[in-house]
């Protein structure tokens, strides 16, 4: 029985330094499509959110195009994120250790990661990002459809649409905040971005941030020959 947080393609490649395969190519493409959609949605959404940002419609070829494209990008994001969801959901299931990790969140922020408990492939923070994104995207696609008048005008009453548009904008704000945290964390924790660009991290990165996951992989490595490097 494999632990929940080992995903297909996760593997250790011994060497100096040790290299750990974290994301397969498919997952990475999937992630970057989602990321691109999210950024485009944020830009087009913000353009309609506040007059001072209306100039952003210029990126999409004007207000009419922005209005027309935004929901379609949302649809792409929804299905793209669904791909990520089905890849990652098991590894993001909450564990007892997450509570302990969260209790030490201040230590982490203060730069004392050594005080943190050992965590698996994802720490509680990452799980929070995952589940927040999931929830918010469901809210956004749901409310988005209710205000996508071109095709779904009759699906809701105007008072319902008002609630939907408010919920949509608030959810968008939250998802942008979550996204900021996500991006910042990826930058702050050096070596992380490699995981999504080349698919791998160094052994030290895994030791430092996801020791339990590394240990599980190492344990598995004992019994199996490493699979071919993820290409």
């Amino acid at each position: 029985m494999e632990p929940d947080d080992i995903e297909t393609g996760d593997a250790i490649r011994p060497g100096k330094p040790v290299v750990v395969d974290r994301y397969k190519k498919g997952a990475r493409i999937n992630h970057w499509i989602t990321a691109a959609c999210l950024i485009l949605l944020a830009l087009s959404g913000l353009a309609l959110f506040h007059p001072s940002l209306f100039f952003l419609t210029g990126l999409f070829g004007g207000g009419q195009n922005t209005r027309a494209l935004h929901p379609w990008i949302g649809v792409v994001l929804f299905f793209s994120f669904a791909g990520l969801f089905f890849r990652f959901w098991r590894a993001n299931l909450p564990k007892r250790v997450d509570a302990e990790w969260l209790a030490h969140a201040n230590d982490l922020l203060a730069g004392h990661e050594e005080k943190m408990p050992e965590v698996g492939k994802y720490n509680a923070g990452q799980k929070f990002i995952f589940w927040s994104m999931t929830t918010l995207i469901v809210i956004l696609i749901g409310t988005g459809i209710l205000i996508w008048d071109q095709y779904f005008y009759a699906w809701a009453t105007i008072p319902q649409k008002r609630v939907a548009v408010l919920a949509h904008s608030l959810a968008a704000v939250v998802i942008i905040c979550v996204w900021i945290v996500h991006v910042y964390a990826a930058i702050w924790v050096r070596g992380t971005i490699n995981a999504m660009t080349r698919g791998s991290v160094t052994g030290g990165w895994a030791w430092r941030h996801h020791r339990l996951w590394l240990k599980e992989l190492a344990e598995r490595h004992k019994f199996k020959k490493p699979t071919a490097p993820a290409e």
Binding site: L48, Q64, V174, C177, V181, W188, G204
Partner: protein, 316 residues
């Protein structure tokens, strides 16, 4: 002399006149901050006297002709309303209600001309994200500027009266303009011009208030004790007003809202949500910057790498 608001009954000027409505007469412009207007035009109003309306639809016909729209030839669905609702091609609509008056036991056929109310505090304009797509002139007319419209439908959500409609053809919002193009050259709206019974009058809001008073007096003398003027203050008053025989129950006139106001949800969306949203996003970004400045990057150490190598070796 520039044209001033005329009643719809007076004959139009015969000489060429310059439009009296321009950018400098705007008091509000959607998604924009504008300087106060250079001058204050006399506020205008259209008064629809429901008690004089015979539901002939001449107003609808005149509206179609003047605005050169082409509504679809629909079917009969068991009622007199045609088209069945306001559409991007039909800016005004007679709505018919058969109402049994519980007090008199008599049937009353209430016929209300529906269309844009030209609110003093227009919800559509408030909701509109496109700069200059919705404007309000100092005479009270709320107009859609189609070249700026992006078709998002926010005006539909902002409107307390369910008036704007988005075209499936050009994806722009349409509604009654109060014939701003006619008013700009001293004429009344086409509907008022066409109305055979003077159920639709047009002039200064002050004059229309006076006319309404005389009509209400007449209605009261005929036993309509609750006759009154519908000029809802919840939206700051409107530049299209109704004389109703039963002003105490506006909802019997095909669901005319009793106390229309811009929905608190819309206010929250266009007010609080913006500030909270910007604040939240700003805070998140600032927190990152500060954190990175004070705490610095979280780097993998040589020691970490060695420990990993050892682990892998141990397990090999």
């Amino acid at each position: 002399m520039e044209p001033s608001p005329h009643t719809a009954q007076s004959n139009p000027p015969v000489s060429n006149v310059v439009s009296n409505l321009s950018e400098r007469d705007l008091v509000r412009r959607s998604a924009s901050t504008i300087p106060p207007p250079a001058r204050q035009l006399e506020p205008v109003a259209k008064l629809i006297d429901v008690s004089k309306c015979i539901g002939c639809k001449a107003c609808q016909s005149a509206c179609i002709e003047w605005n050169d729209t082409s509504p679809a030839i629909e079917t009969n669905v068991g009622v007199y309303e045609n088209p069945h609702d306001l559409t991007p091609e039909m800016f005004t609509l007679m709505r018919f209600t058969e109402w049994d008056n519980p007090q008199t036991g008599n049937l009353e056929w209430l016929i209300r001309k529906d269309g844009c109310m030209h609110c003093e505090d227009p919800g559509c304009l408030k909701a509109c994200p496109a700069p200059g797509a919705i404007v309000q002139y100092s005479n009270g007319i709320v107009d859609f500027v189609h070249e700026n419209c992006i078709g998002c439908g926010y005006c539909v959500k902002g409107c307390p009266f369910d008036i704007p409609r988005i075209s499936k053809v050009d994806h722009k919002a349409y509604k009654c303009t109060l014939c701003s193009d006619r008013v700009a050259v001293g004429q009344g709206p086409a509907c008022a011009k066409a109305c055979p019974t003077h159920a639709i009058s047009f002039g200064t809001k002050e004059d229309m208030n006076k006319l309404a008073d005389s009509r209400i007096k007449d209605l009261k003398s005929r036993g309509y004790d609750n006759a009154g003027l519908y000029d809802p203050q919840g939206v700051g008053g409107t530049h299209v007003m109704y004389v109703l025989h039963h002003n105490d129950q506006p909802e019997i006139y095909a669901n005319l809202p009793r106390d229309p106001r811009i929905s608190p949800v819309v206010n929250a969306w266009k007010g609080m949500a913006k500030y909270v949203g910007f604040a939240a996003m700003g805070l998140a970004a600032a927190a990152g910057i500060l954190h990175s400045a004070f705490v610095g990057p979280n780097r993998v150490t040589r020691e970490d790498e060695e420990k990993a190598e050892n682990l892998v070796k141990d397990n090999a």
